[in-house]
């Protein structure tokens, strides 16, 4: 199929044609085997033919946008998942991952039964255990650690809906050391930067009014490849409505291809561009004067500070020409206040991330878009009382004490901080002795995997609760198999949005194998730890019914509707000239941050230079693919069909220099000599010459993941160094350099 076209790429994101392999059977056959029905029978069920059609409400767990949908079954067997028409996150249309969610249920590589680490003839291995035995084992170890070191020495890492029950368990047990890598390894700097500036964070789903924006500025945000559903839907609407898109990215991303301006910036210099934009907006008096005067603090200091940041100054740093900087700044100002500098999501890049994101926040304030159509809206969120639990015991020790004067503005726990505080040190009186890891594959998530492994060696207990045999489960003492989101209830989905909504996830199927829902696992552990009073509900239906009753709803009604919109709401835009007090020390939007000043940080962002890759090396960039979420979907039998390995993007000239051809397997070697698994080179004009790019989440090293095992390369393994944000402890990860070698043909 691939035709030879000069300087032209022709890529099929599918396995049709190009070396397509029949793996003999497809989804239905896999199923047919599973349920011992014949393929013919199963095939006859497709389409709207005979059979009892049923639908069950669900909330997708494949990514964290949490779209609501309907699981369709025929005679109790899975058929498809489609979006819930009343759901604001999906508008009735799921993304490819949600559509492929059945693959999470169908995956035969799933964890099947509890496992306990044991030693057989000097070799460590897992033995299968009953739930009773595994839970007793965990509870006993937890008690022992609590007696010896205190309950605070057990930490929880969590990501995903079921985590709420484990957080509750841990707090009831006496530890508040709970971390999610989504903070210090992802969007933490963004939340802190907006808190410092506006007194409010951005949240998820983002409060960005992309639907109605006239000018969208993306700083490295690759919407469309990053497939957060509602956001991408709004992006497509904005493009179709003729909005100006300005994309700043060293790579010609999908978003760049939809943009009026693509600014292929030198990686690591975004802050210089942002400061130059602020300079132009101020010097040419293009800012929203009324807004700035009424709502902001520190304009004069800002003006003085950015005077030197001219487009001519930024040009040699960013490689973006001064006239392009001016033109794009003017275009932003032209559309104000319906101009939106997107705050980003994964923003832990270079270690000065809070300051970079703050520069965007300042630019947004100058354009007066806060609370305005096409800018940032004021989200509504359903108010549902929490389950009436007794108060938690007092927490004695926090991870924060391990970092005396560091990261003063970290509002949430640092996952990497807990990891670091697990490694014993003379300067700390307590180190973590137990980890409970729920739904997050720390080996692919935390940078500097060598440190994670060192920390693990010091643990007395490591429990992994997961759906798949992710790499972290291979390090655990006890592995507890959770059932997929399609086989369980979870807590209510209550997320911010334009309208307040509640959504329900109900089980469409019985749990496969010997897996159990997270809420059940947490409760059973609680009972074994003597925490009965914290688990007064017998099952989750009782828990949900209690919460729903408090707002006059019932589980039955929610099961019928899937999503309920609540009437209580406030306007999402501010009225012109309205009096507002922002939740900052000055009550204003702080262009000049008094909080940063009080902690001795730059109150106005200052450009800092980042090290450039040495000759022959390239900055390692990473991102997302629309059909995958981190490493958690790369074994999903439906989603691997669209993409079963990642590629490293290499500019044509760089490839020539290293003797690399398109499609050839290569190995990346980083500055510390760490070698990647082999990965195919995508030789392309779509990336700058000073960096390479790959999609995150591939290169799994756990054999039990049969489809994903050694497919592609793991970017995280190459992230052996980080630059830590001194303000909030985020780990800047785009500071690693790699060189490229052809893979050994025998490899």
């Amino acid at each position: 199929m691939a035709r030879e076209l000069s300087r032209r790429e022709f890529i099929k994101i599918s396995s049709l044609g190009l070396g397509a392999l029949s793996l003999g059977g497809g989804l239905w056959r896999a199923l047919a085997n599973e349920f011992s029905a014949s393929t013919e029978e199963a095939i006859a069920l497709t389409g709207f033919s005979e059979g009892l059609l049923q639908r069950t409400p669900t909330v997708c767990e494949i990514c964290f946008w949490q779209c609501a949908g309907w699981v369709h079954t025929i005679d109790g067997k899975p058929w498809k998942i489609i979006g819930n028409e009343n759901d604001p996150n999906s508008n009735g249309r799921l993304c490819p991952r949600g559509t492929g969610g059945l693959g999470a249920y169908l995956d035969n590589d799933r964890l099947k039964t509890p496992l306990i680490r044991t030693e057989v003839r000097g070799k460590q291995t897992f033995r299968e255990a009953t739930w009773e035995e595994a839970l007793d084992y965990v509870a006993q170890k937890m008690k022992k650690i609590a007696e010896k070191h205190g309950p605070d020495c057990i930490a929880l890492f969590t990501h995903g809906s079921g985590g709420v029950f484990f957080k509750h368990l841990l707090r009831a047990f006496g530890s508040n050391n709970i971390a999610a890598p989504s903070y210090a390894q992802c969007r933490g700097p963004r939340e802190e930067a907006y808190l410092l500036t506006y007194g409010e964070g951005i949240g998820s789903p983002e409060r960005t009014d992309i639907r109605d924006t006239k000018c969208l500025v993306l700083i490295g945000s690759h919407l469309g490849e990053n497939m957060h559903n509602g956001q991408v839907q709004e992006f497509a609407d904005a493009v179709a409505n003729g909005a100006t898109v300005i994309t700043v990215d060293p790579r010609y991303s999908v978003a760049a291809s939809k943009s009026k301006y693509w600014l292929p910036i030198r990686p690591g210099t975004d802050l210089a561009l942002l400061l130059a934009w602020i300079h132009v907006i101020i010097e040419e008096e293009l800012y929203d004067k009324d807004f700035v005067q009424k709502y902001t603090y520190g304009f004069d200091q800002l003006k003085a500070k950015v005077k030197k940041y001219t487009p001519e100054w930024a040009y040699p740093i960013t490689t973006i020409k001064p006239d392009v900087i001016r033109k794009t700044a003017r275009e932003m100002a032209w559309h104000k206040p319906a101009t939106l500098i997107h705050p980003g999501r994964h923003v832990t890049w270079y270690g000065d991330d809070t300051q970079r994101v703050r520069a965007g926040a300042i630019l947004n304030a100058l354009l007066g878009n806060w609370g305005r159509r096409g800018g940032f809206y004021y989200p509504n969120k359903a108010e549902v009382p929490k389950y009436p639990y007794p108060p938690y015991p007092r927490f004695k020790w926090s991870w924060r004490e391990a970092f005396a004067d560091k990261y003063p503005l970290a509002n949430l726990a640092l996952a990497n901080g807990i990891c670091e505080a697990t490694i014993p040190s003379a300067s700390r009186d307590c180190s973590f002795k137990g980890w409970i890891v729920y739904g997050t594959n720390l080996m692919l998530t935390l940078p500097q995997p060598q440190k994670t492994i060192e920390a693990i060696q010091n643990l007395e207990l490591l429990v992994a609760i997961d759906l798949m045999p992710a790499e972290i489960t291979g390090w655990a003492d006890v592995v507890l198999p959770e059932c997929s989101y399609l086989e369980r209830y979870d807590d209510l989905r209550i997320l911010p949005g334009r309208e307040p909504t509640i959504a329900l996830r109900a089980p469409a199927f019985e749990p496969r194998f010997n897996s159990k829902p997270g809420w059940w696992i947490a409760r059973e552990l609680g009972l074994r730890l003597g925490l009965e009073k914290y688990f007064p509900w017998k099952n989750i239906e009782e828990y949900l019914e209690t919460r729903l009753k408090a707002i006059g709803l019932s589980l039955k009604e929610l099961k019928e509707k899937g999503v309920v919109k609540l009437p209580d709401r406030h306007p999402i835009y501010l009225d012109e000239g309205m009096e507002i007090e922002f939740d900052t020390p000055t009550g204003k939007i702080e262009l000049y941050s008094t909080i940063l000043e009080s902690y001795g940080f730059d109150p106005i962002p200052k450009y800092t230079h980042h090290e450039e890759p040495p000759e022959g090396y390239y900055r390692l960039l990473y991102g997302r693919a629309p059909t995958h979420t981190f490493g958690r979907t790369t074994n999903n039998p439906l989603l691997t069909e669209t993409m079963d390995e990642n590629e490293v993007w290499v500019h044509t000239k760089v490839a020539k220099l290293h003797g690399i051809e398109n499609g050839q397997y290569v190995v990346l070697v980083n500055q510390d000599g760490v070698r990647s698994n082999k990965i195919r080179a995508k030789v392309t004009e779509r990336i700058r010459h000073d960096c390479v790019y790959m999609v995150h989440g591939f290169g799994h090293r756990d054999k039990r993941l049969k489809k994903a095992f050694l497919k592609g390369a793991d970017d995280n393994a190459l992230i052996t160094r980080v630059h830590v944000d001194p303000i909030m402890g985020g780990t800047g990860m785009r500071v690693n350099f790699v060189t490229i070698e052809p893979a050994d043909s025998a490899a």
């Binding site: 049709l16 056959r29 498809k80 249309r93 469309g224 179709a240 669209t642």
Partner: protein, 178 residues
Amino acid sequence: MPRYAMVVDTQRCVGCADCVVACKTENNVPDGFCRDWIVQDVTGVFPDLQMEIRSERCNHCENAPCVRSCPTGASYIEEGGIVLVDHDKCTGCKACIAACPYDARYVHPDGYVDKCTFCIHRVKEGLEPACVEVCPTQCLHFGDLADPNSEVSQLLKTRHYHTLIPEAGTEPKIFFLT
């Protein structure tokens, strides 16, 4: 008589492949195959690049070479202009695969040739094809060209578009808005 067609808005399409996954679950497409796919068509040199992203599938040609080349009559044009394969008549000889300029067909592991059906089982029920229904960017439009007021007719009247390999003379019925 209706003339079914699909219009793909390449301005909206982000190439997420939801159409591919939805088709696979809706139609039980076997592992390793798909009836629709994504193409990223890139032209130019850094930094002056253009890219058209397309969701592609069988073109349901008015002048279908697959139908003409089929020795058993398994490939045929159904009412509404939908090109279909009668699995019982198909011997899997692959003459149609050789004739199709769009590489839209594959041999099903069960021995017959398979391809996009425009989800005729859904269309008969008054529903849209699964790919159209699911598309998060709403870049896919399905409808009747014979009806001048249909969405697809209107889109083709008001927007620029192209078809794939028009020089093959197949008169394809998948249109790409630019």
